[in-house]
Subunit: 141 residues, 3 copies
Amino acid sequence: MGSDSPLLLAAVSLLSGLQMGYLARRVGWSRMAHKVLPPAVTGPPEFERTFRAHQNCVEFYPLFLVSMWTCGLFFNEATAAAGGLVYMIARLMYFNGYVAAGKKRLPGFFLTLAVLGALFLLAFIGIMRGILHKYFHIHLF
Amino acid sequence: MGSDSPLLLAAVSLLSGLQMGYLARRVGWSRMAHKVLPPAVTGPPEFERTFRAHQNCVEFYPLFLVSMWTCGLFFNEATAAAGGLVYMIARLMYFNGYVAAGKKRLPGFFLTLAVLGALFLLAFIGIMRGILHKYFHIHLF
Amino acid sequence: MGSDSPLLLAAVSLLSGLQMGYLARRVGWSRMAHKVLPPAVTGPPEFERTFRAHQNCVEFYPLFLVSMWTCGLFFNEATAAAGGLVYMIARLMYFNGYVAAGKKRLPGFFLTLAVLGALFLLAFIGIMRGILHKYFHIHLF
C-alpha cells in the first residue's frame, strides 16, 4: 500500500473489532454468572438485556464500517477516524447502560445515532462531490 | 481518492445502509404498536415476523457488501451498483411481504437470492480473470 | 484495478460468503427436518443449536472480514488469505460440532479465536509500522 493508504481507518476498524470481541465476551461472562447454557438465549432479565445489547451492536457494526470508510475515503480520513472513536465510546455507553437497566440504554443509543448520522452526512457530501466531479465535470470547493 | 475511486459502489453502500437503518426503525415501530418492550423479542405474530425479517436482512447484509464490492472492483462497477439497487428493492419486497404473512416473504427472498447469485458469479469471473492474468500471465478477454 | 489489487483477499471473501450462504441453508434444512416454521426460532435442541451456531457465525463474520482485509492490505496478502482459509475450516468445525452437541462446538471455536487473534495481531503490526512510517518517519524492517 502507498502512502495514501487509509491507516487511520484501518486502525480504528481493528480497535472496533476488538471492542466487538470484548462485548461478545461479556455475553459469555453473563451466561456464566446467570448459568444460562448455550444455545439458550433466555434467562434472568440482566442476561437478556446483555444479550440484546450485544445483538444491537452486531446489527449496527456493518453500518458503522460502511459509514466510517465511505466518510474516510471520500470526505476526510482523520474526521472519519475521530468519528469512529466517538462511535466506540457511544456503543460502550449504550452497552453498559442497557446491562444496568432497559431505559439506561437510551443516552448511548442517541449518541450512536448522532455519530452515525454525522458520518453518513459527511460521506454523502464527499460522494456527491466526487460524482459531480467525475461524471458531470462540476468542481465544488 | 483518484478518478478511479468506486463512487457508485460507495453511493449504493450508503443508500443500503440508510435502508438498513429504516428497517431497524420499523422493528422499533412494531415494538411500540404491539407494546413489546426491549429486551423482549417475542410477542404477537406480526411483531415476530417483523423482527425476523430484519434479522434476516442483518444476516445477509455483509454477504451483499462483499459480493457487490468484489463484483464492482473486479468485474464492472456500474453493473455491480445496478445489482445493488435491485438488491435493495428485493429486500424491501421481502420485508414488506414477511410483515404481511410468512409465505409472502418468498418472492422477495428469491429475488434476493437471484441478485446475490448474479453478483457472486460476476465477481467470481472477474477475480478468476485477474488471478489468471496476475499469477499465470494468461490474458482472457 | 491495477496489478496490486488484492485478488486473493477478494477470492477468499467470496468463498467465505458462499460458506455463510451454505450455513444459512443448513438452518433452513434444520427448520424443515424439525418442522420449525418461520418466524419461530425455538424448537428441538438440535434445531436450536443449529440456529445458534449460524448466529454466532453471523456475529463473527464482519470481524473476520475486517481482520483479514487489514492484515492483507497492511501486513501480507498471501498470509491473510491463508488465514482466511483456516478461518473457514474453523467455522465449519465449530458449526458441525455445535449441531452434534453443545460441548463439541469448543474445538472449532478455539481455532476460530486463534486464527482471528493471529490475523488481528499481524494487522496491528502492519498498521503500526505504516503509521510510524507515514506520520513519524520511522522506518521499521
